[in-house]
């Protein structure tokens, strides 16, 4: 028991020292937590604010109300509270990002570890596939799939993930290539561990910082790719993401009506997700790569 408590304490202090090493990481995590908090609790707050209605319900309020205390961003052409709507959009965008980003990261970790560790012909093939997917313009294929299959939320995330894994695969594979030359891998090999154990028990834990960075980039990539697809007018209408809201805003001519605040609020929400994840990535870099910091002189 005391031993368990000891490891826990050790873990906690390691965690705290991680934050101490990089203030950027703290800011990033704080910002991301705030965004996630907003997305989770907005519907609950909205229940009181919007008299028990969902933000996506059509025609409950008057159309085009100017900003007021009750509707801080006014109402839109369907009589929906714009603030509530945007927070719903934020929630769905985050869900898409998290789901598609994690699947993409999972794919890239598996491919990178296997390709990097095994080497030889397997590496050549997997590397060839990675480079091919990287080079292909994925948007046309995404459009085909999204248009003809009438995707739901999960299908959409999987499709996005199918094209967004190559970048982090390249980064992680490069790390595996250096890691497998280290002595602890030799030791594991000598002590009779099989390839699978070495890959996932010895090498994988050392990759965690890179995986987190890769995850951050994948999430950003997925959120933006989804937004792009929605702006074109594709994707499930039940998933009210920021992309869908942006598309509706453009389609109904919010810009010609000079309702800039609404468009800006959506863009700011998207950018703040992006900034928070970027700060976390930069913080991870600072915390785990002090050598890098010296080399680049930042």
């Amino acid at each position: 028991m005391s031993q368990l408590l000891g490891t826990l304490k050790q873990r906690a202090s390691a965690f705290i020292s991680l934050f101490k090493r990089s203030p950027t990481l703290i800011v990033g995590v704080a910002l991301l937590s705030l965004i996630i908090f907003l997305a989770i609790f907005a519907p609950i707050i909205d229940q009181y604010r919007l008299e028990g209605h969902k933000a996506t319900d059509l025609g409950y309020f008057e159309k085009f109300l100017p900003p007021s205390l009750k509707h801080p961003l006014g109402t839109d052409h369907f009589g929906r509270d714009v603030l509530g709507l945007h927070l719903t959009g934020l929630k769905f965008s985050l869900i898409v990002g998290a789901l598609a980003g994690s699947v993409a990261t999972l794919i890239s970790v598996c491919i990178a570890v296997i390709a990097g560790y095994r080497g030889g012909i397997i590496d050549s093939i997997l590397n060839g596939v990675t480079n091919s997917v990287l080079v292909i313009p994925s948007l046309p294929i995404l459009i085909v799939v999204a248009y003809y299959t009438r995707l739901d939320l999960v299908g959409m995330c999987l499709t996005l993930a199918a094209f967004s894994w190559p970048w982090s695969t390249r980064v992680i594979r490069a790390q595996v290539l250096t890691l497998k030359e280290r002595t602890f891998v030799d030791l594991a090999r000598v002590s009779g561990q099989n390839g699978f154990e070495i890959m996932f028990a010895e090498i994988l834990p050392n990759l965690i910082p890179y995986i987190i960075v890769g995850l951050g980039f994948s999430v950003i990539g997925a959120i933006f790719a989804e937004t792009g697809l929605r702006i074109i007018g594709l994707g499930p209408p039940t998933v009210v993401s920021l992309g869908l809201l942006l598309q509706q805003a453009l389609q109904y001519g919010l810009l010609t009506q000079k309702r800039y605040a609404e468009v800006m609020s959506m863009i700011l929400l998207l950018i703040s997700i992006f900034i928070s994840l970027n700060l976390i990535n930069k913080g991870m870099d600072e915390a785990f790569n002090p050598r890098l910091k010296k080399v680049t002189g930042q």
């Binding site: 080079v135 948007l139 453009l250 810009l255 800006m264 900034i275």
Partner: protein, 339 residues
């Protein structure tokens, strides 16, 4: 002899990957378009019914068109026919929405707009990015340069379409400086007259700017990293010891060594640039291939969609292949490594 055979294997490998990728991507699109329940053609007919253009549309009508577009044969025959038409006669079939114009003719109307926009954007952002990146890398110890780098690093990942919306909002609607849609004003007659050319430039400014602003920052970031590795090389140390002028070192030693890897980077990034540019085209209603692709789905013209996707894949992958070939020819270091 050994050297040549090593190079031959390298080329053979590249061509093989190129062919397989192009073939697989195209096959995927072909099958997805046909295997999904409710083929596009019946959807097209359904649409005619819904629009009540001809509510009593007859079977003969449908069958007649299916024969015309070769849809009465089974899917394997269609596939073989399509491939043979494509590779033997460079024929992409007939567009459904603008029947009876062949697909390649429809695409050729939009292609100049896309290529013009993209080529200008890519060239501008690439050259500005490299020069600025080399300079920032050169001065990497100064506070100002590292602050600029941090900003660039963050902003370089913002997608083009966000930039496009912001620019439309500020410059087109806010200040009314530039038009926010279309490639030229409807009041001018297309042709080689000054009014038309001026209109094209004015209309192209915002789409181009939204692509250039973010993508040049991307080049800046990668160039800075490359510059810093070059700064550590022996030949630069020697140049410095020799007392070469700074500007000559930057110009002759740093920039020259940057061009090669960045040219490859250009080829690799092309797919990404095309993705982003298609959405930007759509936002600006620019009459390029991207807008055409999105409209082709609206009008259920899957023949056109397929043609555009093929042309896009072919262009991007071929550009990559050419770059792969040129690289070892320009840079002897790669050639000797390849054996």
């Amino acid at each position: 002899m050994v050297k040549i055979s090593g190079f031959a294997i390298f080329i053979l490998k590249k061509v093989l990957i190129y062919t397989v990728t192009l073939f697989l991507a195209f096959t995927l699109v072909f099958w997805v378009l046909r295997l999904i329940p409710g083929d596009p053609w019946s959807r097209f007919v359904d649409n005619l019914r819904i629009l009540a253009i001809d509510p009593q549309i007859s079977r003969e009508f449908i069958e007649g068109y299916k024969r015309k577009f070769g849809l009465d044969k089974d899917i394997f025959t269609q596939y073989i026919l399509y491939l043979s038409n494509l590779f033997l006669r460079f024929d992409l079939g007939i567009s459904i929405a603008s029947y009876p114009t062949p697909v390649q003719v429809v695409i050729m109307r939009s292609l100049p707009w896309s290529i013009g926009l993209l080529a200008i954007c890519v060239l501008i952002s690439w050259s500005i990015g490299i020069v600025a990146g080399a300079f920032i890398g050169w001065k990497h110890r100064s506070k100002l340069s590292s602050a600029m780098f941090t900003i660039a690093l963050g902003m370089s990942q913002i997608p083009y379409f966000i930039m496009a919306i912001l620019l439309i909002m500020i410059l087109a609607y806010g200040f009314g400086l530039f038009p926010g849609r279309w490639a030229f004003s409807p009041s001018v007659t297309p042709g080689l007259n000054p009014a038309f050319i001026l209109s094209v430039i004015r209309h192209g400014f915002l789409p181009a700017l939204s692509i250039v602003v973010t993508s040049f920052l991307g080049w800046l970031v990668s160039t800075r990293a490359l510059t810093m590795t070059i700064l550590g090389e022996d030949y630069l140390l020697f140049a410095e010891a020799k007392g070469l002028k700074k500007i000559r070192m930057l110009n002759r030693y740093v920039l020259r060594n940057l061009l090669l890897p960045q040219a490859t980077g250009l080829a690799i990034s092309l797919g990404y640039v095309v993705n982003g540019a298609y959405v930007v085209e759509y936002i600006f209603q620019y009459p390029g291939v991207g807008t055409l692709l999105i409209h082709s789905f609206r009008f259920l013209d899957y023949n056109l969609a397929q043609g555009i996707i093929f042309v896009t894949m072919f262009t991007v992958l071929t550009a990559n292949l050419i770059m792969d070939f040129l690289y070892p020819l320009i840079d002897p270091r790669v050639r000797t490594q390849g054996k």
